[in-house]
């Protein structure tokens, strides 16, 4: 072994191209080996389940167990089973306004919620990043603290706050701002409030990270060159925190589109977001193929912004 190391070093020293290139291949392979586990993970827990859902979405609903046809049991019948797959469910979704409306509603509710979240999270993150260094860990802790309680319980608590005789209305009436209780629960406003509240940390943390990383002397340099503070914010701080803003927006928007619990608990029966539609198809109608097709279309709609996001990140990183 010692001899082997010796000769290898000697070869490297003399620059023997063959040894060098074989070593380079080995290094390259080791470098690639590191990224195998995450790929295996994604393959096992994302791609395979997705393919199963995709296959179900091409099936036909039947009253049976499992409640769809065909199933791939005996390998000798696979060809026949394959020929039974159909895109009828997708045509059905496209023809029924119910589905299109719930996609559209989900997208705009998620969009507005994302904007509200951004408007609250940015000043919050800015304040945190400018706070004395000793105070920052505490502030960071406070942002993460709500996660220590169950998400479901926290959303439930909002019913108590927002209902007509709830805490918010009692407070507003007590201070004389309103005479009659505001109807917030079971409206879109309740959903906006619920999503904004629940997803605020996902927006705050990436923005905080990008602001915290920023060199404060850049702001001083801007001032030194004659730029007043407000303008320095628009020309220096904001552009440099944009990667954090974009990351935060995607972290809020993407899960908010598929959100089920918040619209179900706070939005009442009139709101129909896509998460709820999937739930209804799956559990109430027991129509797995249509539910799967709805889910697949949702993934397709969301992949687009994710790809844009990745492009943006790659460019910012490069």
């Amino acid at each position: 072994m010692a001899e082997d190391v010796g000769t290898r070093n000697a070869a490297a020293g003399s620059g023997d191209p063959e040894v060098l290139s074989s070593r380079r291949t080995r290094m390259k392979f080791r470098g690639r080996a590191v990224i195998i586990p995450p790929y295996v993970w994604l393959l096992a827990f994302f791609l395979l389940p997705f393919l199963i859902v995709f296959k179900i979405s091409l099936s036909e609903v039947v009253v049976a167990m499992p409640p769809y046809r065909p199933t791939f049991g005996d390998p000798s019948e696979w060809w026949g089973a394959l020929r039974q797959l159909t895109i009828d469910n997708y045509l059905w979704i496209a023809s029924d306004e119910l589905y299109i409306n719930s996609y559209v509603e989900s997208l705009w509710i998620a969009g507005i919620s994302t904007v509200i979240t951004l408007l609250i999270a940015y000043p919050l993150a800015y304040g945190m990043a400018r706070a004395p260094a000793g105070l920052r860990p505490t502030l960071l802790m406070l942002v993460i603290l709500p996660f220590w309680t169950s998400f479901l319980i926290r959303v439930y608590a909002w019913i108590g706050i927002l209902k007509p005789e709830g805490l918010l209305n009692q407070l507003l009436i007590a201070i004389g701002l309103i005479d009659e209780p505001l109807l917030i629960i079971n409206t879109h406003w309740a959903i906006f409030i619920g999503i904004t509240y629940s997803y605020l940390p996902f927006m705050t943390l990436p923005i905080y990270a990008s602001l915290d990383r920023m060199d404060h002397s850049l702001i001083e340099a801007a001032a030194d060159l004659g730029c007043p503070p407000l303008k320095a914010f628009w020309t220096i701080t904001l552009p440099l925190s944009l990667p954090g803003v974009v990351a935060g927006c995607f972290l809020v928007f993407i899960p908010a589109v598929g959100e089920f619990v918040i619209p179900d608990l706070l939005g009442g029966s009139r709101t129909l977001m896509i998460g709820k539609t999937v739930w209804l198809e799956f559990f109430t109608n027991r129509d797995w193929p249509v539910a799967s097709a709805v889910a697949v279309v949702l993934v397709a709609i969301l992949v687009l912004p994710i790809v844009i996001f990745q492009r943006y990140q790659a460019r910012a990183g490069g």
């Binding site: 060199d215 002397s217 850049l218 001083e220 340099a221 001032a223 060159l225 004659g226 220096i236």
Partner: protein, 381 residues
């Protein structure tokens, strides 16, 4: 006060500080800056003249950066006034001051090209577009970066970034340019080259430069005058030669360059000459300009290169013998540490003027040292 013949600036025709009628351009008048209980700058008064290249030299935490930041407007003085060109700057925010700063970290805007970085200050002035382009082109040419205008800062080397930072701070043609450790982030070779370029540039533009540095070599090579600072106060303001050859205290002598400081008692003092009895046990004969009476304890500061070393016994005055304790060969200079018979260590530097030194001294050899009567300096503090 200085006993030397004549110690001027490197630019011998430029010495407004010795002209009684010269108008101060920048004035710090009794300026104090306190952070809680800590006085970063302590009742400091200083005048700087137009066109001067001025260096604030000191160890970290001596208050030099705070002084610069007060001039730029990032810190407000707790007491005292700062005046530039007759205008009191109290209450003027940084973005309305006629000074520009080159930051130690360069603080280049990472999302803007070199051109946009340099144009940033001009855009704030709402200068017409064609004039901005012209000015940017001009300053980029000045720092020899005209071919890099469209690059982003992360596509430049450290030296190039330093030049962009310089170009950006010069673009607005400020009355005063502030440089915070301008060469601190460069490697040694590049730093030496840039020192001369920066000094040339300053002479060419005639802009007043104020530089903060902890590197005495940087201050010595570039500045017209140096202020040596310690604990928020200025210890001495003088030209580089004066700082080196006529330091006013042990602190300055020790901070700038190498020095042997010998404690001594005054034996006789008359007619500009003095005899001292060194604590190391020998007599020093020296020319002198300080006021000290016989019996008083003073310090005799002697630079290593002003001592002669010999392997043979020497005769005459100002001779002391010892043992070679250490030898360090630097190429251009050989540095000896000689342990005197009293136990004190004397540093001696010998210029290697010939390739083969006639002096063949080695460890533990006996050596004799001699110095002229005007080689050292008597200090009282």
């Amino acid at each position: 006060m200085a006993p030397m013949k004549s110690l001027g600036s490197i630019r011998r025709d430029f010495a407004p500080w010795s002209d009684r009628d010269a108008k101060p351009y920048i004035l710090f008048d009794g300026v104090t800056k306190q952070f809680g209980e800590f006085k970063a700058v302590d009742d400091l008064t200083l005048t700087i003249y137009e066109g001067e290249f001025f260096a604030l030299l000191g160890a970290s935490g001596c208050g030099k950066s705070t002084l610069l930041r007060m001039l730029a407007g990032f810190e407000a003085p707790s007491r005292g006034n700062i005046v530039i060109d007759g205008e009191d700057l109290a209450g003027t925010p940084p973005y309305r001051r006629p000074v520009n700063m080159m930051f130690q970290s360069y603080a280049l805007f990472p999302h803007m090209s070199v051109e946009k970085n340099v144009a940033f200050g001009l855009r704030q002035e709402r200068m017409p577009r064609d004039q901005i382009a012209e000015r940017v082109d001009q300053v980029l040419r000045l720092v020899k970066l005209e071919n890099y205008a469209s690059r982003r800062p992360d596509q430049l080397s450290g030296g190039q970034r330093q030049r962009v930072a310089l170009a950006r701070s010069l673009a607005k043609r400020p009355k005063v340019l502030l440089l915070d450790e301008p060469l601190g982030a460069l490697d040694k070779k590049l730093r030496e080259e840039t020192q001369f370029e920066l000094a040339d540039l300053q002479h060419q533009l005639g802009t007043t430069f104020i530089m903060v540095t902890h590197d005495q070599e940087e201050a010595m090579t570039m500045a017209d005058r140096i202020a040596v600072m310690d604990q928020g106060k200025i210890v001495q303001v003088a030209t580089p030669e004066e700082i080196y050859e006529a330091p006013n205290s042990r602190f300055v002598a020790d901070f700038v360059g190498n020095v042997n400081v010998l404690e001594a008692k005054v034996l006789r003092a008359e007619g500009g000459r003095m005899s001292l009895e060194a604590a190391a046990g020998f007599t020093i004969e020296t020319v002198n300009a300080v006021d000290a009476s016989p019996g008083q304890t003073v310090f005799y500061a002697l630079r290593p290169e002003k001592l002669r070393i010999s392997g043979e016994p020497l005769t005459g005055s100002n001779v002391v013998a010892g043992e070679v304790w250490d030898i360090a060969y630097f190429g251009h200079v050989t540095s000896f540490r000689i342990k005197l018979d009293s136990g004190e260590i004397m540093k001696v530097a010998m210029i290697n003027a010939t390739r083969v030194s006639p002096l063949q001294l080695t460890w533990h050899d006996r050596a004799w040292l001699q110095f002229d009567d005007d080689a050292g300096l008597v200090l009282t503090r």
